[in-house]
Symmetry: C5
Subunit: 82 residues, 5 copies
């Protein structure tokens, strides 16, 4: 799993049915790259989280056939970035 | 999911049966790399979209055994590139 | 899917049973890296092709349990490299 | 599988149900990047381990539908880093 | 599939049950990075091999639920490195 920071929400009204109404977050990884993740844990802006990618990202959702390749797995209690 | 920009269509008459007649788009990621994605949402040139990769890309298609590893998941309402 | 150029054939007599007698091609990606792909479409040296990776690579073969992680998905009609 | 070094434990009380109470470790790869992995072998700080990613990471756990994309596969008996 | 060189064996007595007694090899990719792979073909030090990653790596083993994400697929008859 990778460690990322939550930047904010993502607004995307036109999307595939496979994503349903799941919350999407914009995250930033340690190289400053912005990514989009499904959020089942309720992370907020500024939180440090860890994310699962690949097929593991789908198993974190109620429906494992959902179209996500990145899902927030948890909010880190304490993290000091390098 | 990654954030990419739609550059245009891709013409490819000679392809595997597993892709059927699905629309293919040429996308550009944040490093300027060009990639090919299946488009089930009808994105147009210049749109900012987010894409799912891996097995999630297949679940966005009617047939989850289709041969795609990159599928457009939605068109972003508003995006300002860095 | 990624865009690559076909460099030639690959000779490999000693290989796992899971690959059977499928044709193997040496491809070059946009960074000059050489990769090996299964070719079900009959691409020739100099062709520009797009490739599927991961589990999608397996679904392009008659047997989806074949041991490939990169398969040519189609030959691009026209491509002008940067 | 990749070779990584164990830096320590990771505290994360708020996480998805799919991870249960599995131990999480912070690892460092050869580029100095910190990653989070599930640890079923009991690795300790300073150990050199190898990790499996993707769907293989899930098959190392009792429940193959667990939400992990990185799992420690073993502790290396002897390793001298470059 | 990627092209790599076999550096030697890997000794790892403490490992997950999912890997059984399969032979592990240390490989080096074209960037000089060392990786660990399962070897079902009997490659020797100095051999050039190609490897399959992801779920394809598992299908090369007798048990497709084994915990490997990198498996040697074949020994290349002739290879001249750049």
């Amino acid at each position: 799993m990778e460690i990322m920071k939550v930047l904010g929400r993502m607004v995307c009204t036109q999307r595939v049915a496979g994503l349903g109404h799941m919350n999407l977050r914009i995250l930033e990884n340690n190289k400053g790259k912005k990514l989009v993740a499904v959020d089942p844990v309720g992370a907020r802006e500024g939180n440090w989280v860890f994310t699962s990618s690949g097929s593991a990202a789908r198993f974190a959702c109620p429906n494992p056939e959902v179209q996500t390749d990145l899902t927030i797995g948890g909010i880190i209690d304490y993290w000091e970035n390098d």
